[in-house]
């Protein structure tokens, strides 16, 4: 995948780690039997691994059972001694938040030379009713995927990330899953959320070579995981260990290999035309190192990635570049056998040169972005026994985005900033800071009472502060000018400059009907920001009632409270008081949002051998509203809806839209984030050689989706619209074999559909910038459901306006029988009717590894809006209307050869080819509108290559 895309997506949406905590451990559970099948009690089982400082030893019980709990993920050497003699040994893999079943056979009569060496991997977790996939470092390193964890996630069933299912075009760093949008997922690295709470996007990546394990809950996640409606991605990084190890790698990636053009829609003409493909080149350096500072006491692990990206956007001719990197450091101190302390530090600077090439601004001017994300986390782990563990953690993160013009002046404005404003000169800037501080604790206890309980409980609190300061100096009062450039004497809004030159702005019409062109300037709005506090608590009991049946019972509650930049909670009004004069309405306070989310499931090991399980799970999932939700208490967005009024001296001043004089957006009393109810059921069976076959069905419904509803022209409410919901249903079969160092495989077929309200949901807003992604909060008028107001529009000749904006569905407060579910109808973009994924790798005996990723997407259609002609291509390039993605195939291959010098030292040469056949299927075209019918908007990413050299020691 194109790292530039990922970088842009990551950096654009700023990064702010730390919301919810997530598990960082896994367990081993098994039975030791002799070759006759009789249990072997009192055998000593010793476990050693790179991620634990000292060996762990447990004795088998009378029935031969044993367990190791709270182990960091990784591969462990296991040795079993009975009556002073080694009776078996081998390796066991531990996956994140999963139980590896290790049923071992002791050869009581064998000599050392005849001991069978076993290898056990977590094929099936019979204690879990969740749909969870754990991908080991070996798995992800040997597949042809982009070197980010989100690219890895794209290979999983139910995940759509290769294409941007929402807007069309290539997928970015934010995949969608099971009918939820790209912004519904939560991501944790080493247990700490790295999702930006303002934009709900991936905020921070990690050196690919530092990843130990990636675990993904697509469905049925336990109560420990929260604040998402899509999936929970849990990444665990490597630790230092008692031996010095590391890696150094150089990769070079390039797009547009061979043919450089294809036909896509030229939005300026409305016709398809030969267009230069998006191109990029990117050298990349990746280093890791880890080991002991003090044996068994103090470990370090560090990773560094640097990348330079050069690209030319699709159809463009201006090159853009960026330079950035990610660094992380981890120190782990083992105070004693019980207490360990870990400190994590990350830093991720990114510099984008000329990151925007808006054609409205002059070609010479440039805007740069200089971002920096940093985090510090401290965690204390207290484990008095393997049955009891307390984790206490705290952290501080800060991220800044600074957008500055590096050329241009008032006469030749520089680039458009990423929220849509124009900079005038080098004194302007857009400076974002997001800081977060918080912490929490998590307690794990295993209990034997009416079966075995694994009880987890936790709570945390995080406090987030957004700050943004815009400085735009083009704050002169502008007058209309005639076609000769002479002022007409009529006054217009401050901050908007009009021109007679079509090259200098968007189309507009002057009061006298003549054409004009405008562009916007903003006054210096000064710092503005808000504060969002989140609190969460959960309790989860995985209760194995009997050997074959485990109940997964849990509940969590999340609380979110936001304050505007004056420290006040937004005021609320009752929606049904919209007919009352504003000054007579009952005013309340939004206050904290409380979101309880119960979950329950069972897993039945049908035959008690860990080979077959039947499971089901049902639960509620709340996403956070995030910064956007609360930012509306400052303004309709941080910039686009700032209003201006004159003060007593006649000077223009900024005022926020909670100003009751200015048709403010109103928080409806009781408005809260959306929630999803999901139920899954399935059966899994281990067939030969650790291959697990799984058949499962998934049903979900997301409701209570907040939206801005303009019930009439004057009253716009942020409310939980009863019209808007999303549904998903799918049937899926999957085959998986965890990589054993030799080969691994994951194949899946998903039959699914996602339907409901078209995009436009509040919770998907990206950066609160009006109009972005066609998926944002905006006042589209089409919500107006009061018949009198609609009749007014028709009668005064503006019926075309309602007509053109139709699509979201009208909502009537006074007459719910008039509600229009036309906007509700439609397949949503976040699915594919048929999806087939085949991923895996195989290592030949002489050190060559072959990897394959194949993805088939049968295509899908979805309703976005209607009536593209209303907007026309010039006004809204993305257009509105039904979109259609025909079937697409991706074939990515990898060939690598490893020269292995000893157990730890090796040199690997690799070549990855993405979209090897060079497929160029349309991955969005307009379907049935009158203007764009059949026009290809985007095609698959062109063939790309990545060549690499990696040295390990």
């Amino acid at each position: 995948m194109n790292r530039m895309n990922s970088l842009l997506a990551v950096a654009l949406f700023a990064n702010l780690p730390a919301i919810a905590e997530a598990a960082e451990f896994g367990d081993i559970r098994g039975v030791l039997e002799d070759t006759d099948g009789m249990p072997v009690p009192n055998a000593e089982i010793t476990l050693k691994g790179p991620n634990v400082p000292m060996p762990r030893t447990e004795n088998t019980a009378e029935d031969g059972s044993f367990s190791f709990r709270n182990l960091p993920p990784g591969t462990y050497d296991v040795e079993v001694v009975f009556q002073g003699k080694v009776v078996t040994k081998g390796q066991v893999d531990v996956a994140l938040n999963a139980v590896t079943r290790a049923n071992l056979t002791a050869n009581l009569n064998a000599s050392d030379a005849t001991i069978d060496v076993f290898g056990v991997r977590p094929a099936m977790d019979t204690t879990s009713s969740a749909l969870s996939t754990s991908l080991s470092a070996e798995t992800i390193q040997n597949m042809p995927v982009g070197r980010t964890f989100t690219d890895v996630v794209n290979t999983l069933p139910g995940v759509y990330g290769r294409v941007d299912t929402q807007n069309g075009g290539g997928g970015g760093a934010n995949p969608s899953v099971r009918g939820e949008g790209q912004y519904g997922n939560n991501y944790t690295i080493d247990g700490i959320s790295v999702r930006d709470p303002a934009t709900n996007t991936v905020a921070q990546s990690v050196n690919f070579d530092a990843i130990e394990e990636v675990q993904v809950y697509t469905d049925g996640a336990p109560a420990e995981f929260g604040q998402f409606t899509g999936m929970a991605v849990n990444v665990s990084t490597k630790d230092g260990g008692n031996e010095h190890h590391g890696s150094a790698a150089i990769f070079y990636s390039q797009h547009a290999w061979f043919n450089k053009e294809y036909d896509i829609l030229d939005t300026s003409t409305g016709e398809e035309a030969a267009t230069t493909k998006r191109r990029f080149r990117s050298p990349n350096l990746a280093l890791t190192a880890g080991g002991p500072i003090i044996q068994d006491k103090l470990w370090y692990f560090a990773a560094l990635t640097t990348a330079y990206d050069w690209r030319i956007p699709e159809g463009g001719d201006t090159s853009l570049s960026s330079f950035g990197g990610q660094g992380m450091g981890k120190l782990t101190y083992f105070l004693n056998d019980t207490i360990s302390i870990r400190y994590n530090f990350t830093a991720a600077p990114d510099f984008f040169n000329n990151f925007d090439n808006d054609p409205l601004t002059n070609a010479e001017a440039q805007t740069d972005r200089r971002d920096m994300a940093m985090s510090h986390m401290l965690k204390v782990n207290i484990a008095p026994s393997q049955d009891t563990q307390l984790e206490v953690y705290g952290g501080l993160t800060q991220n800044t985005i600074n957008v500055v013009p590096v050329s241009g002046d008032a006469e030749t404005p520089s680039r458009r900033d990423f929220t849509g404003g124009l900079f005038d000169n080098a004194e302007d800037y857009d400076f974002n800071t997001r800081a977060r501080v918080g912490g929490g604790l998590r307690f794990t206890q295993f209990l034997n009472a009416a079966g075995e309980h694994r009880i987890k409980a936790g709570a945390d609190a995080w406090f987030l502060k957004f700050n943004r300061e815009l400085r735009h100096t083009g704050e002169t009062e502008i007058e209309w000018i005639d076609s000769d450039g002479n002022p007409t004497g009529e006054q217009t809004l401050v901050g908007t400059e009009y021109s007679a030159n079509p090259e200098e702005g968007y189309d507009c019409t002057q009061p006298d009907g003549s054409d004009c062109y405008y562009r916007e300037h903003w006054v210096n709005v000064g710092p503005l920001g808000n504060t969002v506090s989140t609190y969460s608590a959960f309790l989860q009991d995985d209760w194995t009632i009997a050997d074959q049946l485990t109940l997964n019972i849990g509940a969590r509650v999340d609380i979110e409270d936001g304050r505007n930049d004056e420290g006040n909670s937004p005021t609320t009004q009752l929606v049904d008081e919209f007919t009352v004069a504003p000054e007579e309405r009952e005013v309340g306070e939004l206050g904290a949002r409380v979101m309880p989310a119960p979950r329950v499931g069972f897993s039945w090991d049908v035959l008690g051998q860990g080979h077959t399980k039947v499971f089901a799970h049902a639960g509620r999932y709340y996403d956070l509203a995030g910064g956007d939700f609360w930012e509306w208490s400052n303004a309709r967005s941080s910039a686009g809806f700032v209003r201006y009024t004159r003060d007593a001296d006649g000077n223009w001043i900024w005022s926020n839209t909670q100003d009751p004089e200015g048709h403010p957006l109103i928080y409806a009393a009781g408005v809260k984030p959306a929630h999803m109810d999901k139920a899954i059921a399935g059966v899994e069976h281990v067939i030969a050689d650790e291959v697990v076959v799984s058949l499962r069905g998934i049903l979900s419904k997301t409701a209570n989706i907040p939206e801005d509803i303009d019930v009439n022209l004057d009253d716009w409410y942020i409310m939980n619209s009863p019209l808007k919901e999303r549904n998903y249903r799918g049937l899926e079969v999957a085959f998986q074999r965890r990589h054993d160092g030799n080969w691994g495989f994951y194949g899946s077929y998903t039959l699914s559909e996602s339907f409901g309200h078209t995009p436009g949901q509040f919770e998907l807003a990206s950066g609160a910038s009006s109009g972005s992604n066609g998926n944002n909060v905006g006042v589209y008028l089409d919500d107006i459901g009061e018949q009198a107001d609609r009749a007014f529009f028709y009668d005064v000749g503006y019926g075309w306006l309602l007509e053109g904006l139709k699509g979201l569905g009208r909502y009537s407060v006074t007459d719910d029988t008039y509600n229009d579910d036309g906007g509700f109808f439609g397949y949503l973009p976040y699915h594919s009717f048929h999806a087939l994924k085949l991923n895996g790798s195989y290592s030949l005996p002489f050190g060559t590894t072959l990897g394959l990723v194949y993805e088939f997407d049968s295509g899908h259609a979805w309703q976005k809006r209607t009536l593209i002609p209303f907007y026309g291509y010039d006004g809204m390039q993305e257009g509105r209307g039904t979109r259609f993605m025909p079937a697409s195939h991706y074939v990515d291959v990898r060939v690598a050869h490893m020269f292995e010098f000893d157990e730890h030292k090796s040199l690997e040469l690799s070549l990855d080819i993405f979209n090897m056949p060079g497929f160029k299927a349309p991955i969005t075209y307009f379907e049935n509108d009158t203007v764009g019918f059949g026009k290809v908007m985007f095609r698959q990413s062109p063939r790309g290559i990545r060549a690499g050299v990696k040295m390990r020691y």
């Binding site: 049908v606 559909e753 018949q787 259609a861 209607t866």
Partner: protein, 236 residues
């Protein structure tokens, strides 16, 4: 044993996971028209088949026809945005009100509840557009569009652009009630004339400029419609 569970599971899930097959009525575009009707409308929805019937305010939609299926849309042709075309019926009683749009398919009726607005014609009649060409010849049919343009009540004429006297008269011919009409260019000398129409009640057609109004130059309050007659056929 597990095989039985598998079968049960699959059997239980399949109905739930079957792709949606129920028809959906989504929209009518445009969703308003004058009470004369005669407006081309498009009804879109999903899985509507090709045999549906529809009505607006209880009156059958005229000229009703299903869109031709586009083979490139494959299996999704009926899934998203399948369209019917028709013409809105007249409904003079419904002026200024919302009416239901009903679509019947296989004895199932889907309704856009109060999904269509009938605009009452403002005044006796309203001319919104006159389809004059750049040049016209005697006998040409000139389209006149609007509402209430009743051929029995509305008459028109061509007027001199210099002294605003009537040069010729013409009759209105209805093509679709009072919404879509035309007149034939009367036999007059080549030249440019002003077009004007009046109702028997004395009203004019809204946008038309009254030739008797010497303030024709106050063009901001009316839109003079000129017709150029060129018996040579001009540059057509």
């Amino acid at each position: 044993m597990y095989r039985h569970f598998t079968l049960l599971l699959v059997a239980g899930m399949l109905p739930a996971c079957k792709l949606a097959t129920e028809p959906r009525l989504v929209s009518i575009d445009p969703d308003y028209a004058y009470t004369d009707g005669c407006t081309d409308v498009t009804i879109s929805g999903a899985r509507l088949g090709t045999e549906a019937t529809a009505s607006i305010g209880g009156n059958p939609i005229e000229g009703w026809a299903a869109a031709e299926e586009d083979p490139t849309r494959g299996e999704h042709a009926q899934d998203v945005g399948f369209k019917y075309y028709g013409v809105s019926p007249a409904n003079y009683e419904a002026g200024g009100t919302f009416v239901d749009v009903d679509l019947t398919i296989d004895d199932v009726t889907l309704t856009l509840d109060r999904g269509f607005y009938y605009l009452a014609c403002p005044g006796d009649f309203m001319v919104e557009a006159i389809g004059v060409g750049e040049t016209n010849v005697v006998g040409d049919a000139i389209g006149v569009f609007g509402c209430g343009i009743d051929e029995a009540e509305v008459t028109g004429g061509l007027y001199s652009v210099t002294d605003f006297t009537q040069v010729a008269s013409f009759d209105i011919v209805s093509d679709c009630r009072g919404a879509i009409t035309h007149f034939e260019v009367p036999d007059v000398a080549d030249g440019t004339y002003l077009v004007y129409m009046t109702h028997s009640n004395g009203g004019s057609g809204g946008m038309l400029c009254d030739p008797s109004d010497t303030g024709l130059d106050t063009a901001t309050v009316c839109a003079p419609t000129y017709i150029t007659i060129d018996s040579s056929g001009g540059a057509r």
